[in-house]
Symmetry: C2
Subunit: 339 residues, 2 copies
């Protein structure tokens, strides 16, 4: 069958913050799939800040988006028609072909996902690369142990909200930091952290972290899951226990710093406290994916993995979802419901 698909194309490369005129919504016909192809209707897509990088043509480890073409991004869909024996109508599939309602693609561009185990959008969130990022950082990089005290920055974000829950489910004490009372309420009420810091309300983050460490009866932090860098990293170094492990997942506070950074001032604590600090990217840890999926599924079925999503409805809201990433308003993973 021929399907109609609305898609979001990049029309020109944004200078500074992207504006609506950089994009166009285009209606495409998706004909019956060719030999070896599969026709897919997308159910969900996700947006993330890294997409901004691909809108430019700067050199990076992922190629830039092509102009006058639908952008790419993680999507979960269902098979409508299949000319590949590995896929059947109704199958749930993951692809990188988001920003559109439907598409044809060779079977090699698709991966099966278990429809029974989890709701479809979970595969873009805690059971997707976002989940793997949190899981690999805590389990492999930081070697998380039950009983550890864990500090998570950007704790209400896509990765941070999962990191908080993994740590809590592993029997750790969790302190999360986020900006504003809505987000700290989310940390308490949904993620069930032991303590939450509203960093925007704290004149001195190190003192705030010291206060919360004391409040939960801990001696310091054993693991820091860093999305922020800067003053959060400085506070984590200050409150670290000996032999603490820091997983450096992001340093969002530093990306636009053009002057010399003024923090952290206390890197020498790496040595006095014998701290290990390690940067990583999830793509290097795909071998953990099956284990991660298994544990996430079990936690979800036990009611221990809350959905942490901000959902926009329909392809016409996909750019709004993307803008929302930068407004600071979104909580958890930012997703668009397409089907």
């Amino acid at each position: 069958m021929t399907m109609q698909s609305r898609e979001i194309q990049l029309k020109r490369r944004p200078v500074g913050a992207p504006v609506a005129e950089d994009f166009a919504t285009v209606e495409q016909a998706v004909p019956p799939p060719g030999p070896g192809e599969v026709q897919v209707r997308n159910l969900w897509m996700a947006v993330d800040p890294a997409m901004r990088g691909r809108m430019s043509d700067a050199k990076s480890y992922v190629p830039p988006f092509a102009l006058d073409t639908a952008m790419e991004g993680p999507a979960i869909g269902e098979v409508i028609v299949s000319n590949d024996p590995a896929f059947a109508p109704g199958d749930l599939v993951f692809s990188r072909l988001g920003w559109r309602q439907a598409f044809n693609a060779p079977g090699t561009a698709l991966q099966h996902r278990d429809r029974q185990a989890l709701p479809p959008q979970a595969y873009l969130c805690f059971a997707g690369m976002t989940g793997l990022t949190a899981y690999a950082g805590l389990i492999r990089i930081a070697e998380l142990q039950p009983g550890d005290t864990v500090f998570v920055s950007a704790a209400s974000g896509a990765v941070g909200s999962i990191a908080c829950q993994i740590a809590r489910n592993m029997g750790c004490k969790v302190i999360g930091s986020a900006g504003g009372p809505d987000k700290t309420a989310f940390l308490h009420d949904v993620l069930k952290v032991d303590a939450a810091i509203d960093y925007k309300a704290e004149p001195n983050l190190t003192k705030a972290l010291a206060r919360e460490v004391k409040a939960i009866g801990a001696s310091g932090i054993d693991v820091y899951f860093d999305n922020v860098g800067g003053d959060h990293l400085q506070a984590a170094l200050s409150l670290a226990n000996d032999f603490a492990r820091f997983a450096i997942c992001g340093m969002i506070s530093q990306y636009n710093v053009t002057d010399a950074p003024t923090v952290p001032r206390n890197l020498t604590m790496l040595m006095t406290k014998r701290i290990r600090m390690q940067g990583y990217i999830a793509l290097d840890h795909m071998d953990l994916e099956a284990e991660m999926l298994e544990r996430m599924t079990a936690w979800n079925q036990a009611g221990q993995m809350a959905s942490a999503e901000t959902v926009y409805d329909g392809i016409d809201k996909a750019l709004d979802a993307f803008w929302g990433l930068f407004s600071g308003a979104n909580i958890g993973r930012t997703m668009v419901r397409l089907g």
Copy 2:
């Protein structure tokens, strides 16, 4: 037999830089040893910058030196008389009872050293804690592999000079940084590094490191052995290969920084390059001592472990040796020949 021993006592706690009046040289009689005691004549002692800390009574993980008493420090001596069956006259022993020519102590304060395997002073240098510091940092913390490109800061110092040689002996390419032409000549001529940087002559250390990396045909550095921090750490981050390992042994550039540090500016490279950076202190790695001694002895016997020492003669020069640590003039381990 009763021996005469000159010893250096701390008379008052220095304010700022220690001065001669803070110390006294005192002649003591060392009587025949009591029951269970051993009488030892020191052959060598070593001095290190950490002794400055123990002259103050600030809280630390080692207690301050007592006033009106001989200071302490690593020493190697020979047994003169023994009332402990574990020791016999002529035995070579290590103790923490430096800053004196002779002493009586219970056998528990002494450790045997093999007189045949190495010259006595080696046990204060590459076959002592200094050697273990370099060895543990490279082998365990940085997981050094043959073929790695290794950058060592303060490479002409006590620990750095041994780190350079371990790395070279392990089949690595070594770039050392030190201050001044005498020290870089030492790196080339004695330590046989592949490249040496005189950081005092370089307006931009990152550019200098990039130049030397290229000159030795490397793509970047795999291991950084950090004694310095600051701009050296920044240069190492800039030139690091993916998955580089940084052993943080010291950050001497940062100890007296009271303003916010301006370097490193590029900590985000931890993430993009997946760098692991780990602080450590040698005392946590005493389990490596036997292995370290065995390899150091083999390298020494093969002519592959050059002595890197600045030697002062006699107990009356011990304070000069200590001042020399802070003048920047000393190369390698600073030792005092006592016997």
